[in-house]
């Protein structure tokens, strides 16, 4: 039959894999689709797990990408609780943890990433948690509440979002960050300092330049965190949020080119023509920035799901998108568009003291990234400037009495 009937196997049922399966049907693929998920539940949204969901503001139903019956109704063979063990590219087969061998014509690797675990003594104690999956989030949620002492290792977005939620639920919170500032991998110094002081003002103790050397426990359960300078932090629960590592082992073992993740092209195709890789597992080109990267975000997973589904069904490729992300902490909505590559100047617009401002990172007159705090117009307009690679009038941009509509006009 036509090119729309190959057997497609999708390994990994997170946001990327689940979206790819749905889009393949939407784009008219009529052949079989098998969606393999390691977790026991159907694809769901991870971002709320450290935000609204953790505070009890949304339920499990609202997390699901699609209702349970969607997969059967769409003839998608969804297999929960199974992982991939090995890949035979010559035979075009994938061996699963169940022992089954699946034949594919096209394979999509959407194996995601896993939280980095600390190699320190005591990291395996009960109560030392990570937050990636719905099951992780259930465990974290069960530990939060009034008077709970929460130690958070890592001052990135996950750590700060959980810190805000834990505090709002009545706990006391210490954030322990190894670097000299928060958000060292993922935010500018201005944003990092703003969030530090915002958290501190609400009662979060933020420790910078503090290295964790171990966890002490009693009866197998964590009781305190030990730092390199000898200080100890008493806690009822410790959350480790120090970054993620792409699950690219199955691809690497099969000889696919990997860097930090499986290397793909603009169609999300790997070095094997029959295999695609999308989402957190992939290392992809970013045409707007002329380099390879792994943006670790939902919008990235969605864009690559579109790329792969388009390439497989012979549809024209989706327009390149501006990488973006968001974070909710307390009453702050941070929206970030673009990436801070090749930046030679930084400009702040708005009023930090009123928690309504944006930090623009520029290369000459071109906006490379905007970090907007409670500043949706700056985010939206900045995103458009980045996409169109339009030069911006820096004097107007710096003047918050000039509206963003006028800046963008």
């Amino acid at each position: 039959m036509s090119q729309t009937s190959p057997r497609i196997v999708i390994l990994g049922a997170g946001h990327a894999g689940g979206t790819a399966a749905a889009l393949l049907r939407q784009y008219g693929h009529t052949g079989s689709i098998t969606l393999i998920g390691e977790e026991p539940i159907a694809p769901y949204q991870r971002p709320p797990l450290s935000k609204a969901w953790l505070k009890g503001e949304s339920d499990a139903d609202s997390l699901a990408l699609k209702p349970a019956e969607f997969y059967a109704e769409s003839s998608i063979d969804f297999r929960p609780g199974v992982s991939g063990v090995s890949l035979d590219r010559a035979a075009k087969t994938l061996t699963l943890s169940s022992g089954e061998e699946l034949a594919y014509d096209t394979l999509i690797l959407s194996t995601g990433a896993r939280p980095i675990r600390l190699p320190t003594p005591g990291a395996d104690l009960a109560g030392v948690l990570v937050l990636r999956t719905a099951a992780d989030a259930e465990a974290v949620k069960a530990e939060l509440g009034p008077r709970k002492r929460v130690a958070i290792i890592g001052g990135g977005y996950i750590g700060l979002e959980v810190a805000a939620s834990a505090l709002l639920l009545g706990g006391s919170v210490v954030v322990i960050e190894r670097e000299k500032r928060l958000l060292a991998r993922s935010g500018s110094e201005i944003i990092a300092e703003f969030f530090r002081s915002y958290h501190a003002a609400r009662g979060v103790r933020v420790m910078l330049g503090a290295s964790v050397v171990g966890f002490d426990g009693e009866a197998g359960r964590v009781r305190r965190v030990r730092l390199a300078d000898g200080e100890t932090i008493d806690c009822d629960v410790a959350l480790v949020g120090v970054g993620i590592r792409p699950n690219d082992e199955i691809a690497a073992q099969a000889g696919l080119t990997c860097a930090r993740g499986v290397v793909v092209d603009l169609e999300a195709r790997t070095s094997d023509h029959s295999i695609f890789a999308i989402g957190d597992a992939a290392h992809r080109p970013l045409p707007l920035y002329d380099r390879m990267f792994g943006p670790e975000s939902v919008p990235n997973a969605l864009e690559q799901a579109k790329q792969a589904a388009s390439a497989i069904t012979g549809r024209s490729p989706p327009a390149p998108e501006v990488p973006w992300n968001w974070s909710d902490q307390f009453d702050l909505k941070l929206q970030i568009a673009g990436l801070p590559f090749d930046v030679d100047r930084t400009l702040v617009r708005g009023d930090q003291s009123r928690a309504k401002f944006a930090v623009f990172h520029l290369k000459g007159q071109q906006i490379q990234q905007v970090e907007a705090v409670n500043a949706a117009p700056e985010f939206m307009a900045g995103k458009q400037f980045i996409l169109n690679r339009r030069p911006v009038d820096l004097i107007k941009l710096a003047d918050s009495t000039v509206s963003m509509k006028e800046v963008a006009a």
Partner: protein
Amino acid sequence: MAKIIYIEHNGSEHVVDVKSGLSVMQGAVQNNVPGINADCGGACSCATCHVYVDESWRDRTGSLSDMETAMLDFAENVEPNSRLSCQIKVSDDLDGLIVRLPATQS
């Protein structure tokens, strides 16, 4: 429960029963209605769930928050009846609601 009618830019109609309490965006996403992408999952952060609310329903779909207004200010093809569907909560009162989808989300 309310019956919501989503009309794609190409004219295709999707009539879907949506539970009260969900958003108009969630009703579309859960039923695989094309054209409502909802990249941010309903956090009012992406403007990819933009819809045009049928004139006869505008009064009943509530008013816009500052955040929604600001996001729509910079969305494409905005009309006076533009809304972000993640910000419209479904109730029995919205039974029969008609929303149309913009060309940019096809």
